[in-house]
């Protein structure tokens, strides 16, 4: 019985301290205390702990996502790519892209768009000479994606490994590359990408401000920043149900399916520690983005933030 009361008290006490800018942002070097879920750690410790979490969950990452969200995470990711509405020829950087969910959707989307494009072209060119038609086929054959490309960047080797295996298994190879890198310090030149996405990754970044600055740097002028992340539910009833589900069910799922309670406890705690919609919007604006906006999905359980480099 005592354990129950202790537990409830703890969860409630700490849920109430979620508001307020994460001390992380006052970004000093190794010393200061930061949060790892509800624990207090140094910056270095936090990076390491998070690396370990993803190292442990990598193999079961997709199964767990499906179980925890009852498959709804797929819809969220579909919505993100639809919002992006990439046209063939787009160069996408998917940061914290780990197991490739966004990258594969992107490829499917531009492939479909490219097919429609080719269909339209063919319709227009009904009266070409045979020579011209032949030439058309030659150049289009190598461009089923219309020279679109996606670079998947992740800090964690295990996640990238799983992603590559998945790509092979599902038959994705063209227009796809995998890079090991840190969102806070991207290994890319300035003004390179048309779109930058980070789906369920920015929560795990230790210095969000740096990640946003890097995003700004590597995007071309006119480029778009898109962030899909767990956010805050304002509706009080829903919020309580959501908390109940998060804290009671998700770690249990983690233990039963992945044999790892602690990583999923970290997951639900880190969601509570992450800045709410308006605060994240302000941070994105601080990095230099314009027309920053967000869209709540499922009452704020998840939000898509968007901004442009102009």
């Amino acid at each position: 019985m005592a354990a129950v009361l202790l537990w409830r008290g703890r969860a409630r006490a700490l849920l109430s301290r979620v508001r307020g800018a994460p001390r992380a942002l006052r970004g000093l070097a190794a010393g200061p205390e930061m949060h790892f879920g509800f624990q207090s750690v140094t910056e270095e410790e936090r990076r390491e702990k998070i690396y370990q979490v993803f190292e442990n969950v990598a193999k079961k990452y997709d199964v767990m996502n499906d179980s925890m969200t009852l498959g709804i995470h797929r819809v969220w990711k579909d919505i993100l790519v639809h919002k992006m509405n990439p046209s063939p020829g787009t160069l996408l950087l998917d940061v914290a892209g780990g197991t490739g969910d966004i990258a594969f959707r992107f490829i499917n989307y531009v492939r479909a768009a490219r097919e429609r494009q080719l269909q339209r072209k063919l319709k227009h060119h009904q009266n070409l000479s045979w020579q011209e038609i032949f030439e058309n086929y030659q150049e289009d054959k190598f461009n089923s994606l219309g020279s679109s490309q996606v670079v998947v960047c992740d800090i964690n080797r295990e996640m990238l490994k799983v992603g590559k295996q998945k790509a092979q298994h599902l038959g994705y190879s063209e227009g796809l590359s995998w890079v090991l890198g840190n969102a806070e310090e991207l290994p890319f030149d300035d003004d390179k990408f048309d779109v930058y996405t980070i789906a369920f990754g920015i929560r795990n970044v230790t210095r969000i401000d740096l990640a946003l600055q890097e995003a700004y740097r590597v995007l071309k002028p006119g480029g778009r920043f898109l962030c899909l992340e767990f956010s805050h539910v304002s509706n009080p009833l829903l919020s309580r149900l959501y908390d109940l589900y998060s804290f009671q069910v998700i770690p249990v799922l983690g233990e039963v399916i992945a044999g790892d309670w602690k990583s999923y406890q970290y997951l639900v705690e880190s969601i509570r520690q992450f800045p709410p919609q308006e605060e994240l919007k302000a941070m994105i604006e601080d990095a230099g983005f314009f027309k920053v906006d967000y869209e709540n999905l499922n009452f704020g359980i998840v939000a898509i933030h968007s901004g442009f480099k102009l």
Partner: protein, 237 residues
């Protein structure tokens, strides 16, 4: 900010022992159900069997602990908290003992079945530090049960040992394992199980004194036969 740090410090001390994860009753119920299903679905998930034992043992474990407390040898075990691990066992000495002695037969069992005492899961969801030790002891003594009953680690042998342990400890996990384990056995084996092995295991379990009250580490030189007689386990068929 200092307040918040102190608060965070405090919530980590809810841990009663290293590896302890405090859980609410709802979480325990969900864990029990989930681990039971997973253990049946994937028999190689030994960690699920362990979790099932911990989450359902709230009545049986205090019972076992009390049995130990009221027995002189059991009481000593609770005080001294011996652990059976490769690092604490002198394997070469045990191997050098004459045949028929507990130590020799135990090592033979480990080697024949290619198991090690170090693969036992430490408890996570037991909310009492002493009970956590009791379940840990039960796990570590499991291999000795195999030795005393003369059962190998195949599915059949494990089920027989589970029947014995179910009678001895009353742990719901053992009862479930004993009841559902045979599901995966062939009919021929089921017959042997039902007609010979289970009745013998149950009779022995009922007749025997509590197996957790034996300080095995101090009895390596005792012949297995004599120990069986002392505990009250009938000779295996």
């Amino acid at each position: 900010e200092e307040e918040e740090d102190v608060e965070e410090e405090e919530e980590r001390w809810h841990q009663l022992y290293p590896g302890h994860i405090p859980t609410s009753p709802l979480q325990k119920a969900l864990l029990a159900a989930g681990s039971a299903i997973m253990a049946l679905y994937d028999p190689y998930r030994h960690d699920m069997v362990a979790v099932l034992g911990e989450t359902t043992g709230c009545l049986a474990l205090p019972n076992l602990r009390d049995k130990m407390k009221h027995h002189p040898e059991g009481y000593r075990i609770l005080q001294e908290r011996p652990r059976i691990r490769l690092s604490t066992l002198d394997m070469s000495r045990l191997r050098g003992l004459p045949d028929g002695l507990l130590g020799r037969e135990y090592v033979r069992f480990l080697e024949d079945n290619k198991v090690s005492p170090d693969t036992r899961m430490p408890p996570k969801f037991v909310d009492d530090e002493e009970l956590a030790y009791v379940i840990q002891r039960y796990r570590e003594v499991h291999d000795l049960m195999h030795t005393l009953l003369g059962m190998p680690t195949n599915m059949l042998g494990e089920v027989v040992v589970k029947w014995f342990e179910a009678v001895q400890t009353g742990l719901p996990m053992c009862v479930l394992g004993a009841a559902f384990g045979p599901v995966r056995l062939s009919t021929r084996k089921l017959q042997v199980l039902a007609t010979e092995l289970v009745p013998w295991a149950v009779r022995s379990g009922l007749n025997a004194s509590c197996v957790l009250n034996i300080y095995y580490e101090q009895r390596w030189e005792q012949p297995v036969e004599s120990l069986r007689e002392e505990i009250g386990i009938f000779p295996p068929p």
